[in-house]
């Protein structure tokens, strides 16, 4: 993700505090009402002079750290520079003084930094859990980053590989191969599904988890121990607003108590939360012969593309405990099904460390 601050044209509706250059710069002042002189009453020469000042000064001014925008405000008849803080205001003032610009030709306004709003479907570097991944002709979600025997990796669903079961070196892109054609990771571990094993119904192929691991490319940066957080739970919002921190992982539980409130963040329906209503259920997967043992059902929203999402329990504030990987749900999207970490660590090779 590139949270970048950009110089943009000023929005008239911005709530800002104007700072007159002659005032004590240490104290924000009350808003100054700028006389709204109609542009038509200003001579073409005056307008041309202001535009020339704007063109000649704005590159230097916007190089001052903490500047937000530069504007030739034709209505006010002044240059207007938006800054984040007093230090930046002083820097702008000094830059303009060096160029001999009169204080009556500009204003400096304190304003909030402008940030790009990222969504779970945008490009994130370093990567984090909950964002979109793409491979062959499918889209899934990144479950969680982890070191597996020291190798930077991510875990997602087993069916989020080119071939479900078996390790064939699926290449992953983030957010998609069309947006960024450099693979971020390669499938490294997807155990085979086993037929005729103990407890596996005739005609089915079985595992304890729908999970796989991909190893990061040396060029791809990743953040272990964080999950993208969106700006609302059960709203469907995909706009990110901070992160959850993975402080622990539950590698043991197979039977989650009914009513346990769990969460997931995925690229299609964002952050959803709800109670466990079925626990350690052996589950057939529609459209396949796959049979997954001891899966957990959660009454929370899901949709296509959320496969692979990490499932977690909030332990306090934004601290969470990782508990599994989401892989499926009802056709009406009313509940999701996940593989507990207990089944994942049982099947994937190596020691999985997913905490911060």
């Amino acid at each position: 993700m590139q949270h970048s601050r950009k110089s943009v044209a000023r929005f008239a509706a911005l709530a800002v505090i104007a700072l007159a250059a002659c005032q004590d710069a240490s104290q924000p002042t009350a808003p100054v009402v700028t006389p709204q002189t109609p542009q038509a009453t200003r001579s073409p020469q005056a307008q041309a002079r202001l535009e020339a000042l704007f063109q000649s000064t704005s590159p230097e001014v916007m190089a001052v750290p903490g500047t937000v925008f530069a504007d030739n405000d034709e209505v006010a008849g002044k240059l207007v520079f938006g800054v984040e803080h007093q230090g930046a205001a002083n820097g702008v003032r000094n830059a303009l003084a060096r160029r001999g610009i009169d204080e009556s030709d500009y204003e400096i306004e304190l304003t909030k930094p402008i940030e790009m709003k990222a969504t779970l479907r945008d490009e994130f570097r370093p990567t984090q859990a909950g964002i979109q991944i793409h491979f062959s002709r499918y889209v899934c979600s990144l479950g969680f980053n982890a070191d597996v025997d020291g190798q930077p990796s991510f875990v997602t669903a087993s069916h989020c590989t080119a071939t479900q079961g078996g390790t064939e070196g699926t290449l992953y892109y983030q957010p998609s191969s069309s947006a960024n054609g450099t693979p971020i990771a390669t499938e490294a571990d997807d155990p085979l599904y086993v037929k005729n094993g103990p407890g596996c119904p005739k005609g089915k192929k079985c595992r304890w988890s729908d999970a796989s691991r991909a190893a990061y490319a040396s060029t791809a940066s990743s953040s272990r121990g964080i999950i993208a957080k969106t700006d609302g739970v059960n709203t469907g919002s995909l706009t990110t607003a901070g992160v959850f921190t993975v402080t622990s992982q539950d590698n043991i539980t197979t039977d989650f108590p009914i009513g346990t409130v769990l969460n997931k963040v995925g690229r299609t329906t964002g952050w959803s939360q709800g109670p466990v209503f079925r626990t350690c259920a052996n589950t057939s997967v529609a459209g396949s012969t796959v049979y997954l043992r001891c899966q957990t059902f959660v009454q929370a929203n899901v949709a296509g593309g959320d496969s692979g999402s990490g499932v977690f329990r909030i332990t306090g504030g934004d601290n969470v405990q990782l508990v599994g990987i989401l892989w499926g749900g009802a056709s009406d999207n009313s509940y999701f099904v996940f593989s507990p970490l207990s089944g994942i660590v049982r099947e994937l090779t190596g020691t999985i460390v997913a905490t911060n």
Binding site: R137, Y138, V139, C140, A157, H159, C160, Q164, D210, G266, T268, T283, S284, V285, A286, G287, S288, V302, A303, G304, G305, D306, S307, L326, W327, G328, G329, A330, S331, F336, V337
Partner: protein, 129 residues
Amino acid sequence: MHPDSLRLELDVATEARVGSVVSIALRVRNVGDRPIDLYLRGRTVAFDVIVRRDSGEVVWRRLENAIIPAILRIETLAPNATLELRADWSLATTTGATVTPGTYAVQGVLLTEDAELRTVPVSLHVSGG
């Protein structure tokens, strides 16, 4: 996706006898002049078929209680290209009981990333075996 450029139709027999199996084809056609990327639910495309009595009561759903992988499959449909999805209905209700003779409405539903796209219901008359 451009739903206005998509035409969904359900191909199903208009008559059937109790004890037979009805073949159903859901076809999705790009009637526009540009390729369309369809984001479809499932590794194998998940689509539903809903059968209702005249009263509106649902007697069978292909995806009733099914648990579907929450993955999106991207299918690019060229202009005039058609994606065909096939299913069979054994004239049984969701609970497994044989349906009674009568007239039923059959509707296809395509699960996409953004919405469920539904066909116009097709009438099927079931006669006694």
